[in-house]
C-alpha cells in the first residue's frame, strides 16, 4: 500500500489528486496549517477508499521549522513512498512589487521552504527504497513576464532544484516528477476572470499527475496543450515578446 505524504493537503489540486489515489487504496499523511480543514479532507479520503488518512498540523512555509518538522514526521509516521509538494501562494504581482514583505513571503513559501522540504525528504534516505517526489510548479515559471514574474520566478527556481535532483538521482530508485499546470479553477485563482478553453478543473490536472506518476514521467504540462503554448512563448524573439501584454 503506497504511503503518500502531502505537503499542502488543502490545495485544490492536491485534494483532487489524493481522491484519485485514495480510490486506489493508498494511505495519506496530510500536512498543512488548518487542523479542521485537514480533518475534513481526511474524512473525505477515507470515504473514497483510502486505507488511512492522518493529519499533521504544521506551517510548511516556516523556513526555520523544517528540519524539526521532518524529524517529527518521521518519528510519528515512519517512512513514505511518495511525497507531493503542493502548497504555494499566488500573491498579487502589482502589490508584491511595492510590498517587499509580500515579495519575501512569496519567495519563502513557494521557493525557499519548498526547496528545503524537498531536500529534507531526500536526505538520509536508504538508496534502495523506491521514492517518488511530485513537485507542483507552474507554467508561469517558463519565462519572466511583466504580469506575473515574482510568482513565476519562485516556481522557476523550485523547478531548477527539482531538475537538478532529477539529474542527481537518475538511474536510482528516486523519481522526481515536475508538474506544470496552467490555469486551474481553484481558490488560489479566485481573483481572476475564469472560463474558456485555457481553464482546467483540479480533477483534470489530478488525472494527468496520476498518469505521470504511474508512468514515471519527468515533466508533465497539464493540460497537455500548455506544452505547445510554453514552447511558443519561450521562443518568441524579444521584438515580439516585448509587445505582448502577458
Amino acid at each position: 500500500m503506497t504511503r503518500i505524504l502531502i505537503l499542502g493537503a488543502t490545495s485544490a489540486i492536491a485534494q483532487a489528486y489524493a481522491r484519485r489515489r485514495a480510490a486506489q487504496g493508498c494511505t495519506f499523511i496530510l500536512a498543512g496549517r488548518r487542523e479542521d480543514r485537514l480533518a475534513a479532507i481526511a474524512a473525505d479520503l477515507k470515504a473514497c477508499g483510502a486505507g488511512a488518512a492522518e493529519s499533521f498540523v504544521i506551517d510548511l512555509a516556516a523556513v526555520d521549522g523544517i528540519e524539526e518538522g521532518m524529524g517529527t514526521l518521521h518519528a510519528r509516521f515512519g517512512e513514505f513512498d511518495e511525497a507531493v509538494i503542493a502548497y504555494g501562494v499566488l500573491g498579487e504581482q502589482s502589490r508584491a512589487e511595492q510590498d517587499l514583505a509580500l515579495t519575501r513571503t512569496l519567495i519563502d513559501t513557494n521557493f525557499t521552504s519548498a526547496a528545503m522540504w524537498t531536500l529534507a525528504l531526500l536526505k538520509d534516505r536508504a538508496a534502495a527504497t523506491a521514492f517518488t517526489v511530485v513537485g507542483i510548479g507552474s507554467v508561469a515559471g517558463e519565462r519572466g513576464r511583466a504580469s506575473n514574474f515574482i510568482y513565476g520566478s519562485t516556481k522557476a527556481a523550485f523547478d531548477r532544484v527539482l531538475e537538478g535532483l532529477q539529474q542527481k538521482h537518475d538511474g536510482t530508485s528516486v523519481r522526481i516528477i515536475r508538474v506544470k499546470p496552467g490555469f486551474v479553477d481553484t481558490p488560489m485563482t479566485n481573483g481572476m476572470a475564469k472560463g474558456g478553453p485555457l481553464w482546467a478543473t483540479p480533477d483534470r490536472v489530478a488525472a494527468d499527475i496520476d498518469r505521470a506518476v504511474a508512468r514515471g514521467r519527468r515533466v508533465v504540462y497539464t493540460p497537455w496543450f500548455w506544452w505547445v503554448i510554453v514552447v511558443i512563448i519561450r521562443h518568441l524573439p524579444w521584438f515580439v515578446f516585448r509587445r505582448l501584454k502577458i
Binding site: 485544490a12 488548518r34 479542521d36 475534513a40 474524512a43 473525505d44 473514497c48
Partner: protein
C-alpha cells in the same frame, strides 16, 4: 460584478460571488455583513430560486467532501455542495444508492434539501427531505445549528423545501438505500392516451420507479399518447458506476432550432424507436438521468432561454386538469420534447414548502418567445390553481405572488423562520405585495 444565470438561461443577473472551499469559510460568509445572501449549487433550478440580483451569492460547489460514510448502515454525511454525481461514484460500488434522485445527478445535497426534490419513486419513498437524518445550518447571527425531525424541528421543517432562505446549509446527513446491482429492471409500455396512463400508473404499485413520457403535440383522443416506464433495482448485474456525459452542446443553438417541426419530428422518431418497448435491464444512469447524457442541453433552446412548467394537482381532479394542460400545450404548438407525467404518492414530506402533493404532476418546457409564452404559462397556472394544485418553485420563473400564496398557504411559517440576511429573486417576486 460577475453575472450568473440559472438553468433556464432567461436572464443574466449580476451578483457579488464568493466560493468558499471549506466549511469554516462558508460559516464566515454566512455571518458577515453586506447585501442579501443566497447559496448557489450547480445552478440546475430553472427560474430564479437560485438568483439574488445585486446580492451576495455563495457558490457551494467546492464544499463537496464526504465527512462520514457508514458502509454498514448506509448513513452518509457530506458538505452541502456534494453532488449526487459524486455521491453515487462513492456509494454505488459499496452497494448503496441515493434514496431519491431527480432527473439530473448534477445537483448538490444542499439544493436537494432546499428544493425538497422528488424522483420517479415518489409514491414509494416520498421526497428527498424524508431521508435527511440531520443537517447543519449557519445563521447570519453566527449561530451554527444541527436540525432534524427531533432537534430544532420547526427550523428543520422550514429548511426542507425552504429554498435556502433559512440560512446557509453546511452539511447534510442522509440515509442511503441498499442496492444489489447498479442495473434497473424496466418495463416500457406504449400508451395511447391519458386513460391508459392512469390505469398503468395505478397498476404499478409493486414498482418503485414509474414515469411517463408524453408527446405534447398529440391532440383530441390521442392526448396523452406516449410511453409509460416502470423500474426497480435489479438483483444482478454488478455495481459499476456511471461515466461522464457522452455528448455536449458546445454553444447556443440558433433561436428557432426547437420549433413545432423539429420537435414534432423528434417526438415521432422517439416514439418509433426500435426495441424500446418491453422488458429490459438498463444501468441506473440512462434510467434515472437520461438528459445527463448531453452536457448543457439547455443551450439547445437558444440565446433567449426557456421556461419550464411543472405543476402538481390533487388526484380527484388530476385527469381533467392534465388533459386541459396538454390541450393548451398542443394548441400552442411550441411544446417541448420533454413532457414528463407521473403520479405522486401520499407520503408527507417533513418540509413546509414541499412541492409534491398526493395526485399527479406534469413537467414540460417551452422556448422563450416572450409575451405569448408567458401568456400560455399564466393560462396553465390558472388551470392548475383552480384544481387546487400548485407550481414547483425550482422550475418556475413567472408565477404571480397570488398564485404562489394560493398554492402554498403555509408560506408565512417559512417567512417567519427565514434568516433576515437571506433572500432570493424568487422570494422577492412571490412575497413582495403580501408584506
Amino acid at each position: 460584478m460577475p453575472e450568473v444565470t440559472s438553468w433556464g438561461r432567461l436572464r443574466r443577473v449580476p451578483h457579488e460571488v464568493s466560493r468558499p472551499a471549506f466549511l469554516d469559510a462558508a460559516r464566515a460568509a454566512a455571518s458577515s455583513n453586506g447585501a442579501p445572501l443566497l447559496c448557489f449549487g450547480m445552478g440546475r433550478s430553472y427560474g430564479d430560486v437560485c438568483l439574488n440580483e445585486n446580492g451576495r451569492l455563495i457558490v457551494t460547489d467546492m464544499l463537496d467532501r464526504i465527512l462520514l460514510f457508514d458502509r454498514e448502515r448506509g448513513v452518509l454525511r457530506a458538505e452541502a455542495g456534494l453532488t449526487i454525481d459524486r455521491l453515487l461514484r462513492v456509494a454505488v460500488p459499496q452497494g448503496w444508492f441515493a434514496p431519491v434522485v431527480p432527473g439530473t445527478k448534477f445537483i448538490t445535497l444542499g439544493g436537494a434539501v432546499a428544493n425538497d426534490v422528488h424522483g420517479k419513486n415518489h409514491e414509494s419513498v416520498g421526497t428527498f427531505g424524508s431521508h435527511v437524518l440531520a443537517l447543519g445550518l449557519a445563521r447570519s447571527s453566527g449561530e451554527v445549528l444541527t436540525l432534524s425531525r427531533e432537534e430544532n424541528s420547526e427550523l428543520f421543517a422550514a429548511t426542507v423545501g425552504g429554498l435556502g432562505l433559512t440560512g446557509v446549509i453546511l452539511w447534510v446527513e442522509l440515509q442511503l438505500k441498499r442496492i444489489a446491482s447498479a442495473m434497473v429492471d424496466t418495463e416500457t409500455f406504449a400508451i395511447a392516451n391519458l386513460d391508459q396512463f392512469f390505469r398503468l400508473a395505478q397498476e404499478s404499485g409493486e414498482w418503485p420507479y414509474t414515469v411517463a413520457w408524453v408527446d405534447c403535440l398529440a391532440k383530441g383522443t390521442a392526448t396523452g399518447r406516449g410511453f409509460f416506464i416502470r423500474g426497480r433495482h435489479a438483483e444482478t448485474g454488478g455495481l459499476s458506476v456511471h461515466g461522464g456525459p457522452r455528448l455536449g452542446v458546445p454553444f447556443n443553438a440558433p433561436g428557432g432550432l426547437l420549433n413545432a417541426y423539429t420537435i414534432g419530428l423528434f417526438n415521432t422518431l422517439y416514439r418509433h424507436r426500435p426495441f424500446v418497448l418491453g422488458v429490459k435491464q438498463v444501468h441506473y444512469d440512462p434510467f434515472c438521468f437520461p438528459l445527463d447524457a448531453v452536457a448543457r442541453w439547455n443551450r439547445l433552446y437558444g440565446p433567449r432561454g426557456f421556461f419550464q412548467h411543472q405543476s402538481a394537482v390533487p388526484m380527484a381532479r388530476a385527469f381533467e386538469t392534465l388533459r386541459r394542460l396538454l390541450e393548451l400545450t398542443a394548441a400552442f404548438g411550441e411544446g417541448s420534447f420533454l413532457i414528463v407525467l407521473k403520479l405522486f404518492g401520499d407520503i408527507p414530506s417533513p418540509g413546509i414548502l414541499s412541492f409534491p402533493l398526493p395526485g399527479a404532476t406534469l413537467a414540460l418546457d417551452f422556448p422563450n418567445k416572450g409575451e405569448s409564452t408567458r401568456r400560455l404559462l399564466d393560462d396553465m397556472t390558472e388551470v392548475v390553481l383552480s384544481a387546487g394544485g400548485r407550481l414547483y418553485p425550482a422550475k418556475d420563473a413567472t408565477m404571480s405572488g397570488e398564485a404562489f400564496r394560493a398554492g402554498y398557504p403555509a408560506w408565512r411559517k417559512v417567512e417567519a423562520q427565514r434568516d433576515p440576511a437571506m433572500m432570493s429573486d424568487f422570494w422577492r417576486r412571490v412575497t413582495a405585495e403580501a408584506a
